[in-house]
């Protein structure tokens, strides 16, 4: 019997979806372990968030009133103290950018093992976590032989918890040692604006690292022209400066839901898929029939893009560069 503590995530006044997904994952695990599911929400409108988080399956919610936005030094101390106070066995945190900014430090402080980016959790003799390796080409199971553990959970893998709950909402007042708060969040900035909004496009021609060279970008530009479509890309193309930031699809770029998304030389990394899996029809052009993008594609051409794209341009009356 052991309790699960999950910590919600919010930013700039909004609860993030992963918080509700944590409830689903946490409830299943608490059932398997015969324990309760506790939630913590730290900072911001903690009381208000606690109301939103009060979904079916949650046993208790601990609201910590400290600061507006995420500060990892505060989170680490609050979560460590709450985990100890509850006497929980499993700490479930989001595998988000902020989750990765404090989960490893909490695990260190509690001196318990850490497993990140879980895509499945099972509990029989002990906790068993499924996660991926080698750019999602394989999945692995890792068993944790410890009474206490910190696990981060991949966003969008579990459904959001629904139904109204009847959790007991209490406030928790951790002792924060201000001298250890040595980082200050000064503000936020939205990036990737500009003239083109790829999230408005009906058809996206999206190009990835398979294009190899900057000078080859004109090949996919010609295809986008021939189809009267909009050009977007995966992250490495933007990192390299071959296309501007506002063309990037994915976790740290834009979320797009076009009628047709044509991924050309894109492997389908989880952070990319996060931005395009809601597309109505997904087409992949890739030499690797095992690439993760194939798992979510509706149509595929397993071939060299440098052979296929010129043919496609001609199909639509264009002229390959």
């Amino acid at each position: 019997m052991s309790d699960v503590l999950a910590v919600a995530e919010h930013r700039r006044g909004d609860l993030r979806d992963v918080s509700l997904e944590l409830i689903t994952a946490g409830r299943d695990l608490a059932d398997a372990q015969g324990g309760d599911l506790h939630l913590a929400v730290i900072g911001g409108d903690a009381e208000g968030f606690a109301g939103e988080l009060n979904r079916e399956g949650v046993d208790a919610i601990h609201a910590v009133d400290d600061g507006n936005e995420f500060n990892h030094d505060v989170y680490v101390q609050a979560v460590e103290q709450l985990f100890d106070e509850i006497g929980a066995g499993t700490l479930l945190l989001p595998n988000s950018v902020n989750g990765l900014d404090y989960a490893p430090a909490v695990a260190e402080r509690l001196d318990v093992p850490l497993v990140t980016d879980a895509i499945d959790l099972a509990h029989e003799d002990g906790l068993s976590v499924t996660r991926e390796m080698y750019a999602s080409k394989v999945a692995t199971t890792v068993d944790v032989d410890a009474a206490e553990v910190v696990v981060t959970v991949r966003p969008a893998e579990w459904p959001k918890a629904e139904g109204e709950g009847s959790a007991d909402v209490r406030s928790f007042d951790p002792e924060i040692d201000e001298s250890t708060v040595r980082s200050t969040v000064k503000g936020f900035e939205e990036v990737g604006g500009g003239d083109v909004d790829i999230s408005e496009a009906d058809v996206l021609i999206s190009v990835g690292r398979g294009i190899e060279e900057e000078e080859n970008i004109e090949l996919v530009e010609a295809l986008a022209d021939a189809l009267d479509a909009t050009l977007s890309s995966s992250r490495p193309i933007v990192d390299a400066g071959w296309l501007p930031k506002n063309r990037q699809v994915g976790q740290s770029g834009k979320v797009v839901t076009p009628e047709v998304y044509i991924a050309i030389g894109i492997s389908g990394a989880v952070q990319h898929v996060a931005g395009m899996k809601g597309s109505e029809t997904i087409v992949a052009i890739n030499t690797d029939s095992n690439a993760p993008i194939m798992d979510i594609a509706d149509y595929a051409i397993v071939d060299d893009l440098f052979d296929v794209v010129p043919e496609l341009i001609e199909e639509f009356g264009g002229e390959p560069p």
Binding site: R16, A105, K137, D143, V238, M294, Y299, I301, F316
Partner: protein, 265 residues
């Protein structure tokens, strides 16, 4: 000022591969410098070039094979390298986050850097945790997923950074030094090593240390986290693959697009 950069040689799987026991069969793995670490090296080397009296040291936990990628860092401008390895580490299947943090912590304590750069994640096991765990262990401040650093701020004892959050939002944060920053791709443009750099790298110090040299007991590698299965994920995919030569493939895709009515012509 001293900058320590943690680097890892990572394995990448070829398109077609076989699983052998608890890993991909080594015949199908290719080794290279972790993509994120390349950006971490570049950031450190740039600071080294712009400032007087800046030493850039890299540290890796890895077998002799990893010296190739370590030398690559030296060729790009890292001054000196440390490689941690011995029979005890070699005999361990997976170093967990705590073990890596403990080993790197002993190097941090010996080197006493002002700032440590690590990659956001290693592209093979993608734990994404070593840098922050290390920071907590040595009592440094930290920032994860940094895609901009105001290099000038370092001389004032602060790292003014941007952390790349989800959805095109960046967080502007000041972090007191000493600190660990986990570096995100795109923060800079990693250079290629010059021929001159490659020649010079051959004579730069590359020091190999074992657990004992670092004052650590053999049991630091023991872990309650154990890999018990590796498998190819079952796909629920019902993808329709267009077959034929490139011309035939393109024709079928074109027909599908026209049928959907999303394109004209």
């Amino acid at each position: 000022m001293k900058i320590l950069v943690t680097v890892k040689e990572v394995a990448e799987a070829e398109d077609e591969f076989e699983i052998d026991g608890l890993d991909i069969d080594d015949r199908y793995l290719e080794y290279d410098l972790n993509e994120w670490d390349d950006y971490a090296i570049e950031e450190a080397v740039q600071i080294g070039e712009d400032g007087d009296d800046v030493e850039v040291v890299s540290v890796t936990i890895g077998p002799e094979r990893a010296e190739e990628t370590v030398r690559m860092g030296l060729a790009k401008g890292v001054d000196r390298a440390i490689r941690v390895w011995d029979d005890t580490i070699a005999g361990t299947d997976d170093l967990d986050v705590a073990a890596k943090a403990e080993i790197l912590a002993s190097v941090v304590e010996a080197e006493d850097p002002d700032v440590v750069f690590s990659g956001v994640q290693a592209n093979d096991d993608t734990f994404g945790a070593t840098g922050v765990a290390l920071a907590e262990r040595v009592g440094f401040e930290w920032a994860a997923v940094v895609n901009h650093l105001d290099q000038g701020s370092l001389s004032e004892g602060t790292a003014s950074v941007r952390r790349e959050l989800e959805g095109g939002v960046e967080e502007l944060t000041d972090v007191e030094l000493p600190a660990v920053l986990t570096i995100q791709t795109g923060i800079n443009e990693p250079r290629y090593a010059s021929l001159r750099g490659i020649r010079q790298a051959q004579s730069k110090p590359l020091d190999v240390q074992g657990l004992e040299d670092l004052g650590l007991d053999a049991d630091v590698v023991e872990s309650p986290v154990e890999r018990t299965a590796v498998f190819e994920p079952e796909t629920e995919s019902d993808v329709v693959t267009f077959d034929g030569d490139a011309n035939e493939e393109a024709a079928q895709l074109a027909e599908m697009l026209r049928d959907k009515g999303v394109v004209e012509g």
